[in-house]
Symmetry: none
Subunit: 442 residues, 2 copies
């Protein structure tokens, strides 16, 4: 039993500390300002091992601020709040907190002196009396030093019938908020929280969201618990799908080992669609492969109209692999700029593998590229036929001293969807060509 107990304790999911983020300001509820603070705080709280259950933004309304604060104090252990600490009449936070706690406001002499000194040095005159309210704090509050501004934050304990919460209040100015959080709040929370979390991000291209879900289904993808300590999630960042493995354990090393173990399984299931980690886009990944393979490329674009070229030249230094190409949006451009045979266009139509082949070979012939892709298709919304509906795309891949590959795909969706997916599909063709070169060299 002792052994069992110890094992249970070792592997049990550590109790998570529930937290909420409260943002105060009518500019937020009215949508005049994006709530970047809430996102930043959410991410930092999760990194610290807290369970962020809710974000709330409320207008500058004393009753609503008070009600929200007391509600959250009954529900979570940690409340992190920004905004409403300024000198104007609609900055209500401090007064509302004092009222909610049933305590008086107390002026802090040290803070007042700093505010006055800063005001004089910035504005060359005495501080108006109403600005002094930034030196007021609910009696008993702990003052949180602001390393980059004059108005500090503060922290109080809010007791309700069922629960006691620790609440932190910070200015809404992002760099002041971040300074106070990182230096004054995070160290305290890290001590308090038992669990450590570790995340592995896996970026994919080439499988639709539902197929990613299916492949990972018996790993319980989608936020369900794979194991008491691992959560797998995914999200679409069109046209990519990002997968995330989040592990929790009693220390960082254990969380990391667990996350990486599961990530290996996830990558196996996703095969070649899983291409990279956090922060690397598919375009950057393909650019890296082309550079490594020392492959020079060219394009011949019809329906994408330049998008493939635009993507290939997004990364700095893309002239290392991208030579250029032709936007052959009209038949006349296909004929005159790529040397596509007019008879071929008439016989097979502009959207055909024969024309895609001729476009790719034309781009290869008229540049010094090692590989060229031709794409021709029907992006819509009009122009589809029964045989070639909207979304029908023909690809050609021409390489030096190798037979040209051609094939047809269908990507049904909006014009933007079809064009974007087509360009990414062409990027994948270049990636595969680069991989072949790299494999042959090994």
């Amino acid at each position: 039993m002792m052994l069992d107990d110890r094992n249970t304790w070792t592997y049990a999911q550590p109790p998570m500390t529930a937290a909420a983020v409260l943002s105060i300001g009518t500019e937020l509820t009215r949508g005049e300002l994006a709530n970047a603070n809430a996102r930043w705080l959410g991410e930092r709280l999760v990194e610290l091992g807290l369970d962020v259950v809710e974000h709330v933004a409320v207008a500058d309304d004393a009753e609503r601020i008070r009600g929200t604060l007391l509600r959250l104090a009954a529900e979570v252990k940690v409340i992190v709040c920004t905004g409403g600490l300024g000198p104007t009449s609609d900055d209500l936070t401090t007064a509302v907190v004092a009222d909610a706690l049933g305590v008086a406001l107390q002026r802090d002499a040290d803070t007042l002196a700093k505010l006055e000194a800063r005001f004089r040095s910035l504005r060359q005159r005495e501080m108006p009396a109403n600005n002094a309210k930034q030196a007021d704090f609910p009696k008993g509050a702990r003052i949180l030093a602001n390393g980059v501004g004059s108005a500090p934050g503060f922290s109080v304990e809010i007791k309700t019938e069922k629960n006691t919460a620790r609440a932190y209040f910070m200015p809404g100015v992002p760099r002041e908020m971040e300074n106070i959080f990182d230096l004054q709040i995070a160290p305290e929370l890290a001590k308090q929280v038992q669990a450590s979390t570790y995340q592995v991000h896996i970026r994919t291209f080439g499988l639709f969201e539902s197929l990613v879900a299916e492949r990972l289904s018996d790993l319980d993808v989608g936020g369900a618990q794979h194991d008491p300590q691992v959560t797998i999630g995914y999200r679409v960042t069109f046209p990519e799908v990002e997968v995330k493995v989040l592990a929790q354990a009693r220390d960082l090393a254990a969380a990391r080992a667990l996350a990486e173990k599961v990530a290996v399984q996830v990558r196996e299931r996703l095969g070649s669609a899983a291409y990279g980690g956090k922060g690397e886009s598919y375009v950057q990944y393909v650019a890296g492969l082309l550079r490594a393979a020392r492959l020079k490329v060219a394009v011949a674009e019809s329906c994408t109209g330049g998008l493939l070229g635009k993507l290939l030249t997004d990364p700095p230094g893309s002239s290392q692999y991208m030579l250029g190409g032709v936007i052959s949006y009209s038949n006349s451009a296909k004929i005159r700029l790529l040397g596509v045979n007019e008879q071929l266009l008439q016989t097979h139509g502009a959207v055909s593998e024969e024309v895609a082949r001729a476009m790719a070979e034309g781009a290869l012939r008229s540049t010094e590229a090692d590989a060229a892709i031709g794409v021709t298709g029907i992006a819509g919304p009009d122009g589809g036929t029964e045989q070639k509906p909207v979304g029908t795309i023909c690809f050609g891949l021409a390489r030096r001293n190798e037979p040209t590959l051609t094939f047809t795909e269908r990507f049904p969706g909006s014009r933007e969807f079809v064009r974007t997916y087509t360009a990414y599909h062409a990027l994948r063709l270049f990636a595969n060509a680069a991989k072949e070169v790299l494999d042959a060299r090994m």
Copy 2:
């Protein structure tokens, strides 16, 4: 007294309808994704004349979703909710709403058929059984058609002891959410709201934000009150700047007259930079001019790498004016595909007005276009020199039977900024060419 009372009544701010925005998804509370939907909805609700008192984002947790929904239903008249309508196991919204209302889920045959058809056309096979949950709705719910995706939203009335709220549920995918809100929800809310607001949107391209601010400064731009009933605001939607005139009055006709009066002044100050109204992008505006002028165009792109062609072919039906062109990212492509003289490149460098001219004339020569633009420049982050720093861009505009224009601009900023601004500047050149044709015809 009677008169005073009546005057007060006439000009009183109409009673506002309280609204809340509810966002569902652990990716939001964890700060993995910025809550752009909440901001967008907050702004739209305010425009419609509602009083947005709170935004809440909650994790994918049935109890918390349920509790939040019932709490808001007791507090506000309108709840607008996004997220949690997908096919996976952590998409809980629909089931939670049914549970909160105490009704069963009902499968909608029409929605199911559409989901299955879309799945088959995308994936060429039958839809898995679990995807069918997107066709389930709480019994009695009103289905809200999704114009750009397969999963619709829905609307229900939630009765609590003190209050009855109308709640709307939409997918979290922004373009689907925006489509459903604008077409299905906004018209209904507009009818319900007492206050009349009228907005005029003025889209601009060609003036930086600070210059827009300056031009409008004595119209009290920047959200301050110009008049008790008019607010002027602006925001950057790179590379455009959008200006908004929002008027409030006791009825729609009065609000509209007021907004339009101020909008005339705003347009005068902004001159030719003010090109259009809400919902028309600069690309669509330029496409319309090219179509009207029956001008066929071609491009020769170096630093933009295809972006100009991509923008020109974004609108459906762009083959009416866009013939194609060349992506001459390398010197060899400039020489081989555009016939730029090698000596010219050596003497003046690839980034020069001489080369921009040769590129534009090359594109005109090798297509049947009426006008062609050549752009060559240094997008950065590397490659700048003292004489030609990063952001230096040379333009050439070649037309049939007219002398070629060339000039140089500098757009300092990131690689993405420089490339995007360059492509839009080229669009403006095409717009001006089209205007000249139209003027000559009059």
